[in-house]
Symmetry: C2
DNA sequence: TTTGCTGCAAATCCTTTGCAGAGGT
DNA sequence: ACCTCTGCAAAGGATTTGCAGCAAA
């Protein structure tokens, strides 16, 4: 396990990370729990969730969805880019001068039949940048 | 409201769509519910959720997060691309020949301080392509 | 008239949390 | 010894669903 400041090396944490890194299927907490349980039968879901959270905050792993608990909706159904604030969770449209040549890339993508995409930039919104302090918020990216 | 086959024109649906299209803040179901309630005080959360789902399936609006209910985790914390299957929900890494020059674009992005991004392609995985029938699954993109 | 839609309330499902004891440093 | 981490179980919160009546088409 990559050494991390502050985080202790526990058996549970080690196995969770090991199992997660072993696969490329991007499991849910629940699926990972079942994988880990084969090695540590007495581990609890709470431990899995807590570690996933700590590891993501620490930048060792990442959550695929950065959102909080609720989903957000957009009245504009066409493909465009979003910016999500790490700290306050706000999402804004990204108005960028240069447009990413996504269509070129999509054609080269593997065996999936692509119907669309989501591109989300993660960072700090202007308001949160200003009050940028050392403390971290609930949200984590990975 | 854009005419859609099969969907009836109800007052509730109309106001939900109208309120959603009025803003660019990408509200959650809950936030939208409060917006709509100012016009239709007796509307219920269930109606909001059901309509959001129908409208997203119909392609009139989009959900920002395409995932199902559970979040997924990735042992690889560096920025890379994902492919999510609309039908079965599986997520795979996108191994593409051409890499998108994201860094160039990020510099031009508005007032956010960017720390990373998520790029997710949406489509049908090889397995689901094969058994591609007329029926639609639970998952919807928008 | 037919069949989809709504409000209400209960149910479900994922995730988080409090607590007391165990374990890493 | 100190303080984080764990297992367990309960709590919390978002979303879904069953149902009976209502309303588009």
């Amino acid at each position: 396990m990559r050494p991390s400041p502050r985080l202790r090396k526990t058996k549970q944490r080690y196995v969770i990370l090991e199992e997660l890194c072993k696969v490329t299927c991007h499991p849910s907490a629940d699926e990972l729990y079942n994988m880990v349980r084969r090695k540590l039968p007495r581990i609890s879901m709470g431990t899995v969730y807590r570690n996933l959270d700590l590891l993501a905050r620490d930048g060792v792993i990442q959550r695929l969805e950065i959102s909080g608990t609720q989903k957000r909706f957009d009245g504009n159904a066409s493909n465009h880019y979003h910016m999500r604030c790490l700290r306050c969770g706000k999402v804004a449209d990204a108005h960028m001068k240069k447009v990413i040549p996504m269509e070129d890339v999509i054609k080269e993508v593997t065996d999936f039949e692509i119907v669309g995409y989501r591109l989300e930039f993660i960072g700090l919104c202007p308001q949160c940048r200003r009050k940028k302090s050392g403390c971290h918020e609930k949200t984590s990216t990975g």
